[in-house]
Amino acid sequence: MAVAQTKQAAQTTEVLSPLTGNGAGRPTDTAKIAEFTKEQELDALQHMLLIRRFEEKAGQMYGMGLIGGFCHLYIGQEAVVVGMKLAMRDGDQMITGYRDHGHMLACGMDPKGVMAELTGRRGGYSKGKGGSMHMFSLEKKFYGGHGIVGAQVPLGTGLAFANKYRGSDTVCLTFLGDGAANQGQVYESFNMAELWKLPIVYVIENNRYAMGTSVTRSSAQTDFSKRGSSFNIPGSQVDGMDVRAVKAASEDAIAWCRSGKGPVILEMMTYRYRGHSMSDPAKYRTKEEVDKMRTEHDPIEQVRKRLLEKKWANEDELKKIDASVRAIVNEASEFATHDPEPEPSELYTDVYR
């Protein structure tokens, strides 16, 4: 065991180092960084802050007993979904697993409806019947919110199948974690997606831990961008803490899919600051490791720093943005706290139509 532990520590350090690695013929260039305008930086900041503050509030409301059951926070990973959203076109679809609040907010779903679903109220996106892990918005092309690890991957592949069947050039972005990447149905999906050249980007959000098990303890191949190689699916590792790198890689990947060349895998190197769920004390990693990511790689701080350095915003303006985001989140939490629970008659609705 001692040997394994040492190996784990060594590889963890490696994983946390700056990202490299790109093979010939891959549709994306890892090193690429999208140059953001002032407006884009501010937009990215605002969207990432909304997710951060929303999740902090959700954590607080969980602590107050207003949110029950499981609650998986996205704090630390904000750049992934925000960067990808910036590269998407209207009509492109998103589907993910259970760590899904960030994706919903990035898709433009109403924070009030999302928070009210977390509290199990009638104004929630699923009328309070779905909860944290099960929300959808056909209007915003968000297809859930799925609680079974990896199950969203064939579903996303089916959405991409539908796009191809209809002859549209819509692309489906299917998110999964490093844990889900070890599920068998993921590879069944990879096979069909490449076989049928389906327009799908598999976004592996590698936050280094599948619940409490680090990638080095669970995965024979820890470079998840290579997980499609036996199906000839190209893949790249991307610095998932840098929203500009995410956007650049995503633009290339989406363009590849849209042109009919089939699926792409993007491994987003990211990190979650909080535990797996609210009741996880996260004792499987060191405090230093978490602090290092927070202080050196925080996706929001990176943008703030650039805005200040380029004098595109001053502290006061950034504070105002934060205040406006807090106001949105507070409004959502107020709504979610006072909105009534579903009518008892809702127990039996929506089973069939």
């Binding site: 107050m64 059951g69 779905g130 959808f136 297809y143 799925h146 609680g147 079974i148 149905q185």
Partner: protein, 476 residues
Amino acid sequence: MPTEILMPALSPTMEKGNLAKWLKKEGDPVKSGDVIAEIETDKATMEVEAVDEGTLGKILEPEGTNDVAVNTPIAMILADGEDASALKAAIPAAGPSEEPSRQQKGAESPPAERPEPAKKAAAPAPAPTGTAKPPAAALAPEPEVPEGTEFVTMTMREALRDAMAEEMRRDPDVFILGEEVAEYQGAYKVTQGLLQEFGARRVIDTPITEHGFAGVGIGAALDGLKPIVEFMTFNFAMQAMDQLINSAAKTRYMSGGQVQVSIVFRGPNGPASRVAAQHSQDYSAWYSHIPGLKVIAPSTAADAKGLLKAAIRDPNPVIFLENEILYGHSSPVPKLDDYVLPIGRARVVRSGNDVTIVAWSMGMTYALKAADELAQDNIEAEVIDLRTLKPMDTQTIVESLKKTGRVVTVEEGWKQSGVGAEIAASLMEEAFDYLDAPVMRVCGKDVPMPYAANLEKLALPSVAEVVEAARAVCYR
């Protein structure tokens, strides 16, 4: 106003915890994400992060305090510009300032009134009271077959093929995918000719990958397409069980009615012949257990056609259980442009006054032969073909029971928790006073299916067993 920091619940079941350590002291600046304290729960020591920003104005529960109830204020944060004097008015009385909503849920009546806690923004909405009743099922009438309609004798295999072809002609969103459905023309030749008529875009051979292609079908249905997913046999659908139950059956409910999964999973179910334990079993009871699924298991070519067409049009996920042995059985099918039968309606196939025999799919072959034998001894059996297992038409069974007073069920599946058990229990609940004898179940024996011909025969229900059960309930 200063902001309270409340003792957080850090698991779905936590009610109190110990304040192990303060990592910030009074006067320290605090910003979002800062770890301010450590709390011991029954499971672990957890860190508490600040959500609000400002200065830690006052610690209300010092470190080392044990058994602090969830939602007790443990500290106050001063906003920018506030000084300590703001604390005086705001420091709350000790004790939990609010009943967590989850503690209300189990209560029969609303919790007792508590004094209004000092400055509490979060007041959970009261749970609506009252009870909920399941909606009563309304049965669609069986369509009349017009007088003079021509009947064409065909196999169930052909009837199923015709049903799919008709629906694919009618709706471009209908397509079929599965193993060997296209080039090979179907492992059991049910999809014969579909590739030639509809092409490879709509008749799709999949790799051997049940879990994956079941999910792909459901994903396509999420986007509004209407897939028919063929399982070569339902034995292999166990690989896909998670997708069928967790994704197909539950999505409408979990989305509050927003997203539907209109999809048919079909293929042969039940014991075949001499293929042993892993390829020979009946899943009727498995799928009938699941809210959100409809389950159909026809026994005739006409029902197979009319119900498969209905299943394809149905906006819900439908499990369509066929039978390999019945594929080759021929029966008359009305020659109509659009023969669609209502899902959820049983049919009285043979009238009688002495005993009711309820069966479906392959079970009907035993039931009808047994009824013939019983008639020779002047026992007139009424035979009901359930056709749909979920929603179940217990009304038709109850009506028959009122006449006969006795019921025998027939299924190839196992006895424990089987469909027959469900029928027996429903009759006790709904029509106990009409029962003149206990409901008897004729089922597959409680063993994996053996290979040897003699053992296989023993493992299956038999006509003789149905006859014997019918006699037993008739006390003859």
